[in-house]
Symmetry: C2
Subunit: 364 residues, 2 copies
């Protein structure tokens, strides 16, 4: 193990290619599997160290693990891991040029905001629920109030998803320091109404995370959303009102965002739907007041329209068509929105990117 | 992978024994390695699932990984991992009976405090430094002030060590809910003065954590400690003064605790040295004013003695003799302290236990 840990891996090279190394003198096949390469074979070199160089890669955060003679193994030379639903992998960042997405995702030599995990009282099950809050640099020592951006995760995520996978704190620190975004409070909620907190922080104990939680897209979370907002407004120095409130979310969080902003049409001037889980039939199955008369609610919302209503999706996303249909509906009504179509599919690579574009649009 | 993830592992059984399972139809040897068993072999069963049951184990948090034909692998059915210096392992908790250490380490169905990561300004390198703060349940909604306990990590640790490895938030929530500890603010500092933050949060990027950082035991951290205290006192609702201030630390943090409490003798009424790194010669090598006339400083400290001066160590700890010598010095002077000698060595199992005993002694 000690010897193993003297290997350098991964090594991000000057040209943004990345070299992986793994010591396994006895192994007969080693591959690296990540969101940049699947089953890329390493070659055995001196001293039993296998290696391969991939890329150059775009500035981004990448996840990976090794397969050693068929056994999945993390990189013993990289302590940086992240959990996405029920899978733990290593990660690394290709930083790239100043101002690139990779740079935004990296801890900058800039003033840092505070990241807090708090528990707010919920009437749904009369329990406390966990929420992650980013406070901008200067909040602790100052007295001014800030606008608030609510950020919602997808199925299988929780209040940890955006801060770890999305690198929201690093992004906000860098966006604020460079003047690309105004200082704001960012609130990362837990959209799994049946669970009080992310796996590992819940009173349910060290459960195995799953995708099939009850009450997840049945209108309940949206119904209780105002209690999060009142907690935030009571607890922090918040600029209230539509002009100072934004909401966005990915996948299920985009679905929640659409419903919340339509149900409370006078509360959000900035609305971002990232790879939104539309057209899944959840609304019909749920028969919740949240989803009743959705078109009429959207009519009402656009009668005093949000300043920014932003839809973003990758052209390989399985939700691409449903989002196109929703845009066609908005078009048919003449409702103004902004639209970004990227490459790629239903991935954190896209959601990090969308966040880096949406946060700067808010409160300007 | 999908099939792999349907295995249940680890399973904590009713008698506190623990069953590990790992799917590897092709493997010829699978072992589990943890702080409870080293190289314990699993047996191959149906469907290529290997398993073994160990224990019963004492209520505690345990770390482990598998070795599959010599390849170190994490448990694909357990997303809970923790980093200790440069090694990532899985962990699980044997909860045990109500009130046991395992119960204290588990998320309780009790009111939860806030956990914040903040950055305070430091004059040492004119930079911001990261600190982890626990605020007791009710802090956000109330207006009262609280006493403060400063908790210091060991070499290779950082401001993440006590909150992740030590389970300070879970412990405090449970200790406060059961009335064993009074509500208090707990501040977990970063004792590596040469680094602004824990690996992964530092502007140095995703570096590999190491043990040999500069300026680590040379008196600098102690010298700049008051700036942490003034930040905490300015930022939070704090009861100031000796009677309301406690400090403790493990290993290097115990060494720091001894020096800080002796250099600022009128500030701490509760002092806890856990497996303290005494007798290493660091003081002589450093030639820092922090360590000059240490015995005279301790004389001064005990002239108006702290209410609790607590020394705890395991009888297998490599620092056992140095701690015995220090106690003999205190004895020779007639200075009052409390002493706990446990089994075991220089381990988190002991430090979690010591914290669970020290926090309840404070501010009573």
């Amino acid at each position: 193990m000690r010897q193993q840990q003297q290997v350098v891996s991964p090594e991000v090279n000057a040209d943004n290619s990345v070299t992986f190394r793994y010591m396994a003198p006895e192994a007969s096949k080693v591959t690296v599997n990540g969101n940049f390469a699947r089953g890329q074979e390493l070659s055995k070199g001196e001293n039993g160290i296998w290696s391969v160089t991939v890329g150059p890669l775009e500035p981004q955060l990448y996840t990976y693990s090794f397969s050693v003679d068929g056994i999945t193994a993390l990189d013993p030379n990289n302590v940086y891991t992240s959990r996405d639903v029920a899978t733990v992998t290593n990660f690394f960042i290709v930083k790239g040029a100043k101002g690139s997405l990779g740079d935004l995702l990296s801890t900058g030599d800039v003033p840092h905001g505070t990241v807090s995990r708090l528990w707010y009282p919920s009437a749904f099950k009369n329990e406390e629920r966990r929420v992650t809050v980013y406070l901008p640099p200067g909040y602790e020592s100052g007295s001014q109030s800030y606008p608030v951006l609510y950020v919602l995760h997808g199925i299988g995520g929780d209040e940890e998803a955006w801060i770890t996978q999305g690198r929201v704190a690093e992004q906000m620190d860098n966006l604020i320091a460079t003047g690309r975004a105004v200082p704001m409070i960012v609130v990362m909620t837990n959209g799994n109404i049946s669970q009080d907190a992310a796996p590992g922080y819940s009173k349910e104990g060290l459960v195995k995370p799953g995708m099939g939680l009850p009450n997840t897209m049945d209108g309940t979370f949206e119904q209780y959303f105002p209690e999060i907002m009142s907690y935030v407004e009571k607890t922090f120095r918040v600029k209230e009102g539509k002009a100072n409130t934004a909401i966005c979310g990915l996948s299920m969080g985009g679905f929640h965002t659409r419903a919340i902003s339509a149900n409370y049409p006078d509360r959000f001037d900035y609305v971002g739907l990232f790879s939104s889980a539309l057209g899944t039939g959840s609304e019909d199955r749920a028969q919740s007041p949240t989803y009743q008369d959705m078109n009429a609610k959207i009519d009402r919302q656009f009668s005093n329209p949000p300043k920014v209503y932003w839809i973003a999706i990758g052209n390989e996303d399985f939700l691409f068509n449903a989002n196109t249909e929703y845009r066609e509906h908005l078009d048919s009504k003449g409702y103004k929105y902004e639209y970004l179509e990227t490459g790629g599919g239903h991935t954190w690579a896209n959601w990090r990117h969308y966040f880096s574009l949406f946060a700067p649009m808010c409160f300007k």
